[in-house]
């Protein structure tokens, strides 16, 4: 269309103030008009949706508004990272559900990343056995729907564990159909010192790494700063712990009545969801990692070996930094997928946001529109935050061209 416009006013014709070019023939102005029109239409469209919804809700006598958030919820939630009782408000059930969603997402992202990297590298291994096993793992778990995997872990695997009375016992922990009960560490006086020792160790190792770099730049000598800082970070707190006289006691789980009391219990719903999300997502991450590594030109490896770099250092200094540039963008998508997929929790009774807030709270209050909008806003926000962080990380890892 825009190519037609110059033809309309003939070349060479005078552009008098009473120009023949009408404003609707000017591409720039026309574009503006169209855009204004489009914004107007979309605005009107959104306005009619909202006003019609409100009208309809009112004519049908359905209560609206967010007042319900301060009402007493009256139902219990089996897992909560903050204090919660049935006497708390619906607003608090939102927070509890949100934290449970974040908990399983973060756990899943960490585990899926580790497992995914291992599997991705393993698939490229020179060892035939390892490469094939990794391929089989990836192809199986990538191609079975996530919901079925969740059902498998929950109903087939974890349900076949023994009852609390016949628990499998190991290291003071108990495994049964109700979950895994482990001793809970209880802080005693002096544990604060151990924490501070940990902080000091981290600061010291940062200084050490800096010094090692500078020395390498100056003299070319390599200092094993990785080993040294690991030793520092583990050793210093441990030493403090021993000096302070082990200021930590364990609250062991005990079978009392129906269930184990004391200790900490990892509920099977969380385990099943975590396993399923981790395994499913790790296969996609593995493929991403494999693609990233294969994208590093072979010449780079040859150059590294020509310089006489050992294999581990080649991987750490040459391959991974270049592969990361390719890996990070699709990795971000996988993190987003994992977070959103965690909403399947409701199918196996894990109390995530969808199960608690968009489930029970929605049903008890009947305020579907408010509750669903809030829930959607949460997933949008979580996804945007993840993407923002990964974009920042991507920028840091990107090849700096001079």
């Amino acid at each position: 269309m825009s190519e037609d416009t110059p033809k309309a006013d003939k070349p060479g014709s005078s552009r008098a103030p009473s120009s023949e070019t009408r404003f609707w023939n000017d591409p720039a102005k026309r574009a503006l008009i169209f855009q204004a029109l489009l914004i107007g239409i979309i605005g009107f469209f959104l306005f009619s949706i909202v006003s019609n919804t409100l009208n309809n809700l009112e004519t049908r006598g359905i209560t609206t508004g967010f007042g319900f958030l301060t009402d007493e919820a009256g139902f219990s939630i089996p897992l909560s990272l903050i204090d919660y009782t049935a006497a708390d408000s619906y607003g608090r059930t939102f927070i509890v559900g949100l934290l449970n969603t974040i908990l399983v997402s973060v756990l899943g992202i960490i585990a899926a990343t580790l497992l995914g990297f291992v599997m991705g590298v393993a698939r490229l291994s020179d060892n035939w056995m390892i490469a094939k096993l990794s391929t089989i793992y990836i192809e199986i778990f990538r191609n079975i729907p996530l919901l079925l995997q969740m059902f498998f872990w929950y109903f087939a695997v974890l349900r076949s564990l023994p009852s609390p009375r016949q628990s499998i016992e190991f290291l003071g922990s108990f495994l049964n159909v109700r979950g895994l009960s482990v001793p809970r560490p209880v802080a005693e006086e002096g544990l604060g010192m151990v924490f501070w020792a940990f902080v000091v160790a981290i600061v010291l190792s940062l200084i050490l790494v800096r010094w090692a770099h500078r020395r390498q730049d100056a003299t070319g000598q390599i200092f094993p700063s990785g080993w040294a800082s690991t030793g520092l970070i583990l050793g210093l707190p441990l030493l403090t712990f021993v000096i302070m006289g082990a200021p930590l006691s364990l609250d062991a789980p005990q079978l009392r009545g129906f269930n184990f009391t004391g200790g900490m219990t990892l509920m099977p719903e969380l385990v099943a969801l975590w396993l399923a999300l981790t395994i499913y997502t790790s296969t996609f991450i593995a493929e991403t990692v494999r693609g990233g590594i294969l994208a590093v030109p072979k010449g780079q490896l040859e150059a590294a070996s020509a310089l006489g770099l050992p294999k581990t250092r080649t991987l750490r200094l040459i391959v991974i930094p270049q592969a990361m540039r390719v890996i990070i963008p699709p990795l971000t998508s996988q993190y987003l997928n994992l977070t959103k997929n965690s909403s399947l929790a409701t199918a196996i009774g894990y109390p995530d946001l969808v199960s608690v807030f968009a489930g029970t709270t929605l049903n008890q209050t009947g305020q579907a529109i408010e509750v669903i909008s809030m829930t959607m806003a949460v997933y949008l926000t979580l996804s945007l935050l993840t993407s923002l962080f990964m974009n920042w990380y991507n920028k840091r890892m990107a090849l700096v061209e001079r």
Binding site: F34, L37, L38, I41, I42, F44, F45, S48, I49, N52, N55, N56, L57, T59, R60, G61, I62, T63, G74, F75, S76, I77, P78, T85, A86, A87, R159, S163, V177, R178, R256, G257, F258, N259, T261, P268, E269, T346, A347, G349, P351, S355, G359, T360, L362, N363, Q364, T365, G366, A368
Partner: protein, 338 residues
């Protein structure tokens, strides 16, 4: 391109405004020729498909009687299985015409959701199932227990209320459907399963060893279960309400599906009015004059429905108890048809 987008936007916004002027439910059902009825996804005795895939149950008979009254044919029903969480939204949005899904009548549901309860088809109460070998005799001994429960129900709230009031602790495990909650109890995930007693008995029949499961004596709540319709359509509200009343009055007057035809020539004025030979007939309801006769002929009276679905002729064998007629010691009482 632009024109197309504009046209789409206009069409869509008019479509949305169109929703505001909803037509009457009765006209919609008549035009459609089939009643959309929301039921459970499978609670024995209340709504469950049999081997041939036909829905059976006390709640299903409500759907059938409304279809018989409005369309003259009890089979013209499309059953839409819903979870407890989905049910009210499905009714509010017009996906179903009647919700007949073991739904407890409460103030919030009746007043804040834009819905109306039309009556009580079954007076229920919440109870607890436990394994017999635990040797429990009271709910109060369940301190520290894990309890399986269905999400989005009054049951979930009563459970918390009762344990809080008695100062005992518990861990809930919440599932989407009652079948999942029951099977989780069956496989040992929970020490107890709680729901309305009628459903508990029904679901017990499906457990791996029903005889090893007992109900504790406490009934911790009132659960009047009944059909629900959208608020603001009084005509439809009346039709669903009187469909149940017709079944109750039929039992009281001894009219059954078997003797409905001969009862038409009865001299009893009450029976005459009940069967639409005389009296108000279908006038105020705007449906066929023989609507109540169709219900009784095709579905039966309340006693017939109760006995074959949950009572003595069913696998559940639930006693009439408080669900007997008012003149036989129960609560079921229908206003007269005159």
């Amino acid at each position: 391109m632009m024109k197309k987008a504009l046209a789409t936007a206009i069409v869509m916004s008019t479509a949305i405004s169109g929703l505001a002027a909803a037509e009457g439910t009765l006209e919609a059902v008549k035009a459609r020729g089939v009643l959309h009825c929301g039921v459970t996804s499978g609670v024995p005795g209340f709504s469950v498909p049999d081997e041939q895939g036909n829905w059976k149950g006390l709640d299903v008979d409500v759907c059938r009687s409304v279809a018989a009254a409005t369309l003259g044919d009890a089979t013209k029903v499309k059953y839409i299985p819903l979870t407890a969480k989905e049910r009210f939204t499905a009714l509010q949005s017009g996906e179903i015409d009647v919700l007949s899904r073991v739904t407890t009548w409460t103030q919030t549901r009746d007043t804040q959701l834009g819905l109306n309860f039309t009556g009580v088809t079954y007076y229920d109460g919440q109870g607890f199932l436990v394994k017999k070998d635990l040797g429990l005799t009271s709910v109060k001994e369940l301190d520290g227990a894990t309890v399986c429960v269905q999400s989005g129900t009054t049951t979930e709230l009563n459970l918390s209320d009762y344990f809080r009031a008695n100062g005992i602790t518990f861990t809930p495990v919440v599932f989407d459907t009652n079948e999942q909650a029951a099977s989780s109890f069956d496989t040992g995930r929970c020490d107890s399963f709680t729901t309305d007693l009628s459903q508990a008995y029904g679901l017990r029949t499906r457990m791996s060893d029903p005889d090893a499961v007992v109900a504790l004596p406490e009934v911790i709540s009132k659960e009047p279960l009944g059909p629900v319709v959208r608020q603001g359509d009084d005509q439809w509200f009346n039709i669903v309400k009187w469909s149940l009343f017709a079944m109750l009055n039929a039992e009281e007057l001894g009219v059954t599906s078997a003797n409905a035809d001969e009862m038409k020539s009865s001299e009893n004025p009450n029976i005459k009015r009940l069967l639409g030979v005389d009296g108000p007939k279908g006038k105020g309801l705007d449906i066929a004059d023989d609507w109540s006769y169709q219900i009784i002929k095709q579905v039966g009276n309340y006693a017939e429905s109760f006995d074959r679905n949950v009572g003595k002729d069913s696998a559940l064998k639930i006693d009439r108890g408080i669900n007997a007629l008012w003149n036989q010691g129960g609560f079921q009482y229908a206003p007269p048809m005159r």
